[in-house]
Symmetry: C2
Subunit: 392 residues, 2 copies
């Protein structure tokens, strides 16, 4: 029998609070850190830029020398390699500002004749210049602990000359497919009663996509001892995801095995599809037991395994991509269950796909996302505006 | 001088229509195809399931045998290994339906005594069974050409036993950083006038993140012959991205070089920052010349290089992640320019960051996204609802 069936949000909360985020870190070259999480505040050791620079192509001058210059009253300065009273120096965007200069006259406001330059505009000090540290100051906090690193952040780190940074380690996730009917894809012909393994490979690919380090184990048959052995053999896993064998049938041993070696927190959840989900902890590690039926499996993977993985990895809460659409037909849902209805998006409309059949994997492939219907609502009507959570 | 400055959307359209998507394909194992694009319709060679199966734990029966069964009027059937008149067979979810059976009575509606079973419910034919091909029929189109493959799609492919599929090749993108002031990150100490290379590494990482196969070239100095040589040496590139040297100064040679060997379509665009962007084609390949100033560079990368890359790669139009927020302060923009204002998101608010300074790379790192202000608007007011395009 299931434990008492528990509301979806309550189950998630209970599960997420049952383990801690990883605190193991590693040092990596900055260019390998896209998508990683910073484990320690990063302080710049450099001013960027570390020299005063010209922000325009033109002539570096002392602004006091060009006071009163205008279109009809040019000031004439000598062109030199150093700036002092009455002289100027040709500069390019980004080149160092010569000593003595405090500003740059744009090329457009000048006319060059042999060794001298006519200046047609007056400018204040610091005009068209970049000061030392105007981008980043030495000692400044560049990126703080917990920041999710993007390529543009790596560019900022690279600009300060930082080569290696400390980031959280990627969680290692053991993925264990179970089921005596489940067969590896190397077998050419299936017998009656046999199906190809798909939940494990799908879970492995999502964990990789979400930034983890998954490893897919061999298929384990419906035998409590074998399941236990598979879990115990993954000593270096940070998280364990098992698919199949989670219901209350004669061949469903997974929740009992988790209970026997760790703590079974939840067995039976108010999500549809996905009711036979079990959640637990073993040795401080989150354990997600996904239903074997493939649609139930992906719903439980997205609703429980993903936030658990993100918490473990120190990743920010959620990055669900959501699209607003208008429902083309009504959806009925199961009262008391948080219902995940598969929809296809077309032309601003969300078109419901067959919601029956947690075994119909192809319906997920036809779907762009899920419309999630709360427990206390009986369904949604055609024409209603809905949020569609995209399947990534 | 710039060519005539051109509106941002017009420049993009002109550029995107100047080259064709890649039609080179390759065969890959399905498990390596996350994020790839299907190059040829995929037809199932198998029925899934390929056998009639039980959809519940219970007893397989002939429905005609249990007609009239009810809580107070059980029908008694003999338990056997084959179903014929008056007998039943114990089945598990997913196990093959025995010959002769047309339906499954749920375990909850039965009581087992020795060799016989009491059945407490009548059921119609096909109840609690899964028919052959109910998920996927042999010969059915599973996924069509142009579909972006997700892990859940790979699960569907795996369920039909398909091992390799034909996908479009990843575009190879040559990334060429230029500038005599730009220095590789292996140099320990910078002199005045030197800056670390960042645009190239950022571009490389974004191209990889977007699903391409980038290779970052050595830094090229501001010399037309050297720039030309670098472009010509990338014979196997499908796209070329050059950063720096795109303006109209004495040291800006990139647009002229593109014009000399291919076709320069655009030089000078109405985006801010990003005006000194140049776009062209060479040998049928798109060439994006990104401004050297890092903020202008990332804006041009997102607005021009990304859609061009996606078109080349046969990827769907856009996957911008957009968040709606309320502007905390007014933003002024440059009339006649599509303005990209960097904002930080906090608590449903979009907080503008310093919009001045296309050289201030750290402002991008502090930003969660851009608010894009159209050319014909002078700015946005505090309190306005805005779309924030997230920086990935």
């Amino acid at each position: 029998m299931f434990k008492k069936r528990i509301r979806a949000d309550e189950a998630k909360e209970l599960f997420l609070s049952s383990f801690q985020p990883l605190d193991n870190t590693e040092f990596l070259p900055v260019e390998n850190c896209d998508g990683r999480i910073i484990a320690r505040d990063i302080i710049s050791m450099l001013d960027v830029p570390h020299y005063r620079r010209a922000a325009m192509d033109g002539f570096a001058v002392r602004s006091s020398d060009v006071l009163g210059a205008g279109t009809n009253s040019p000031v004439i300065l000598e062109q030199r390699s150093e700036v002092e009273k009455g002289t100027c120096v040709r500069v390019h965007t980004g080149s160092p500002l010569p000593d003595g200069a405090d500003s740059v006259v744009m090329l457009e406001d000048t006319y060059v004749r042999d060794d001298s330059v006519e200046i047609f505009a007056q400018i204040p000090p610091f005009k068209n210049t970049g000061e030392i540290g105007e981008d980043i100051r030495k000692g400044e906090l560049i990126l703080n602990k917990g920041h999710l690193i993007r390529p543009c952040d790596i560019a900022v780190l690279a600009s300060t000359g930082i080569r290696n940074i400390e980031v959280y380690r990627k969680p290692r996730v053991a993925v264990i497919p179970t089921g005596e009917e489940v067969i590896g894809r190397d077998k050419e012909e299936l017998k009656a009663g046999e199906v190809y393994e798909t939940n494990g490979i799908m879970t492995e690919l999502y964990i990789r996509k979400w930034g983890g380090d998954p490893y897919l184990r061999d298929i384990v048959t419906d035998n409590p001892e074998e399941i236990k052995k598979a879990i115990l053999s993954d000593q270096d896993a940070d998280m364990i995801i098992i698919s199949g064998g989670t219901s209350v049938g004669k061949r469903d041993h997974v929740p009992h095995v988790v209970e026997s070696i760790g703590k079974l927190l939840v067995h039976g959840v108010g999500i549809s599809p996905g009711k036979p989900t079990a959640l637990g902890v073993f040795d401080g590690k989150p354990v997600v037991c996904l239903p074997g039926y493939p649609v139930a499996c992906i719903v439980a993977l997205f609703f429980f395994a993903r936030p658990a993985f993100r918490r473990l990895a120190n990743l920010p809460d959620s990055t669900d991509r959501i699209v607003i659409a208008v429902l083309s037909e009504k959806i009925t849902s199961r009262t008391g269950f948080k219902t995940f209805a598969r929809v296809r998006l077309h032309d601003g409309k969300a078109i419901p796909l067959a919601t029956s059949g947690a075994g119909i994997l192809s319906s997920v492939s036809k779907a762009d996302g899920f419309v999630i219907i709360p427990e206390n609502i009986e369904g949604l009507n055609a024409g209603e505006k809905v949020e569609v959570v995209l399947i990534d």
